[in-house]
């Protein structure tokens, strides 16, 4: 079970959280200006790296707030969690 550090509540067990998939996706708008290809890319073509992924989490059974996390999909190590209005942190190589 992951130990996830909510930016507001601190470290809590994974079962208090919901995962919301990849973070920093831009919803294209307005609909009339979006090609089918661009819309499909937004809906379906997400990154699925073997390694570092920025993803969305919600502390559903806590403060109910969404935030972002940088997680290594191989080791499950969470390198950082950060608030929605904060930029993706730079990690040392």
């Amino acid at each position: 079970m992951l130990l996830i550090s909510c930016p507001w509540c601190g470290p809590r067990d994974e079962d208090e959280f919901l995962n919301g998939g990849e973070a920093h996706l831009d919803r294209p708008e307005p609909p009339e200006a979006i090609s089918d290809e661009d819309w499909a890319a937004y809906l379906f073509f997400h990154h699925n790296p073997r390694g570092m992924l920025a993803e969305r989490w919600a502390h559903s059974y806590g403060c109910r707030r969404w935030f972002h996390a940088l997680r290594d999909t191989v080791t499950h190590r969470i390198h950082a969690t950060y608030k929605l209005d904060e930029p993706r942190p730079e990690l040392p190589e």
Partner: protein, 905 residues
Amino acid sequence: MSGFRLNRGGSDIDRGRPLAFRFNGRLLHGFAGDTLASALIANGVSIVARSFKYHRPRGIVGSGFAETNALVQLGSGDRLVPNMPATLVPLAEGLEASSPNSWPSVDFDLGRVNDRVRALLSAGFYYKSFMWPGWHLFEGFIRRAAGIGRAPALPDPDRYEAREIRVDRLVIGAGRAGREAAERAVAAGEHVLILDAALDGSVAHLGRHPLDTGHEGGCLALARTTALGLYDHGFVTAVEEIEAAGLRQRLWKIRAQAITLATGAFEQPLIFANNDLPGILLASAWQDYLQRHAAAPGRTLLVATTTDNGYAAAFAAQDAGLTVRAIVDRREAATDAAQEAERRSIAVHRGAAVIAAHGSRRVRAATIATPSGTIRIACHSIAMSGGWAPARQLFNQPGCMPERCELVGMAAETVSAEPLDLALTRDPKTSFIDFQTDVTLADMALATRENYRSVEHVKRYTVWGMGTDQGKLSAANGAAALAALQDSASHRIGATRNRPPFAPVAIATLAASRHNGALHRPWRHLPAHGWHEAHGAVFEDFGWLRPSHYPLPGEDIAAAARREAAAVRNGVGIMDSSSLGKIELKGPDAGRFLDLLSAGRPSTIAVGDIRYNLLLTELGTVLDDGVVTRLGPDHFLLNTSSSHTETVMRWIEDWHQCQWPFDFVTRNVTEEWAALTIAGPQARALLASLPGTIDLAPERFPHLAVREGVLTDHPVRIMRVSFTGERSYEINVPAPLAVEMADRLWRAGTDFGLVPFGLDALEILRIEKGYIVIGTDTDGESQPGDIGFRKMGQTPGDFLGKRSLMRASASGSDRQHLVGLMPSDPAHVPLVGAHILQQAGGKAQGFVTSSCFSPTLGRGIALALMKGGQRRHGEKVTLWSEGLSWQAEVTMPRFVDPKGERLHG
């Protein structure tokens, strides 16, 4: 000659405390300090189990966790425990144990015939046999053969508990390496938890520094505790055996900053023909039983070894007065141990190997290959030592190097097995790699021939390393076999991931942290629950406990529902709608936000009005429906389906926080309000008979409007919405007033013949009107146009799902549309789930989603999703379910009052 008890010795047993127990019904005797395994050996019981696939006789092969054959059933009735290794069961007075997987008995097992038809059961059997069209021929056989133990059928009467703990360091294993690691960590000021499965007090002294003494290091030591699983971020589960009255086991959920694995190593079996015969044990187990329990697995011993440990077993046996026939050592070089053996006059064959064991019910002799030819040696038992494999089952569970996790002691060493020499294998079909799952060298060879290379693929194809063994006695030999077969090296083959639990555990222990019985999932009660009870309601689980019907004496549920539905169509009824989700949005941007979230532009609703609303996903599919009510310029109320409230609340929070952080607040007020619905032609007359401040005249309070005021001196919010098709008033009151308001409505209703109606009547009423339930009459592909709301999907501006609805596929003619069905036989009520066929035997065109017998029409009706259904009204179709079929006509999904005139007035 089978096993027996020596007259003296045995460090663990107390000969002054004899214990009686039963194995497969036979009364046997042992001593305090015995395990079930040592007592069985001492009683001369050779065959303790039958193997998984071939039902071959199997005896005890190891000791402690290193036992893969002797999985026994303990106890009976509600205290039946399956799958316990006999080596881990302390002997107790009156203990009852039996062998699973054998019929009629473990000594004479008819399943042994599987050993003769093994061609059927080779590697990949499941994949090769479980194929259409003949798979069902094998199903019964597989179901009987699958699994080893028998699960108890009765509730577990024992108590279990769970505890959570956070520590700086968890040390698993309290052997020398583990104790040293714990002491170092305590000295460094860490808070340490050390655990070990051992029964003795070897870890007790480490617990002298309690954990809660401030900043200095401390240590909690748990004996009789086994780590089961190692998960991400330092999370470990362990089970502690408790003997206190009423409490059987305790589950520990440990979160550790760092983990030290001092789990030791498992001695490995050797691969030769019939290496699974009873009487063939690991050398370490041979020594264990001899020295700790004075139990000898046989009077004469042959040692097959690749290490000095085989010699240790031989010397121990000789010291106990037993005969050692020979030591067969794969190593050619002279060793100190070999010299000692010669000094003791024990024959040593160097550079030699056992290539086959002989015997039917237990070992009688062995054939050994020596540099000068093969010889046959008679023996009552074989002690084998194929080297040591580090016990990394926990370490290998996460599938990657766990963070801050170290291996110490033997667990840190590499496998010390000799490579397998295929030239020496006499009979691959009886040379077992994995005793527990009956995987042989022949299976590994077959998998290799069929080009399975990766250990994970071979594992799945052969079932090698599965079961409770998880590679303890099979990983190293499997890797060695694959290395030889693939002409590679063992370390290149690698190891499979292991699965928790490390040792068998009671399901009840894993469930210990959860509530059972009534609190497992507490009921959600309506605020007026007691009122419904008093009025004869029968309740059902709809997420909430809600009245399904209110039967009169002698009525069944169908009759009650028809009577209640007819009362609503012809007079007036009352039902509790409190479980409908109620989410308020308030603030200057609430309307703008709802426009982006909904198909239908709620911001254009006038204050005091209500509008039907659809929430869509970005795929344009329907997430939920309901109504939006505008209570004030900046104040909206969103109703959701009863079972979707939490989903919609999360949906709102997600888009509000992450995409459109507009200026408004939101709140789920579902439980703060009770809602009592008065529906039927007499609804307005009934309400008008009560004193109140709200003008009920239809021109000033029409359908789809909301009014706030006072009714019978209580504050109310009345909404004219309808899920029955009748004129309908939903009276919302603060939840604590629910019973009081229901009583007042009920008293006023006497003059109007007011009838309480439940969900089964509501189901009839809404199907007659073609009102859908999201998730019942829609599926994951349904879009607004498919269910009759194409215009809503074309609302100008952006909203969730809009772009997807603009794609050509959203208006494709092959989409599944909502339709009505009228069965040709009016008495027939179509089965929900029945397939719709264009002609008998054709492909399914859709399926029935809801159905009922309509009391209004006096016939069965149904709603369905059907390919291109909106263009197919009038078509005759066949409904098919489980071999039966019926005729029906496709209609528009509206059976009663298609123009909706009854709603008004």
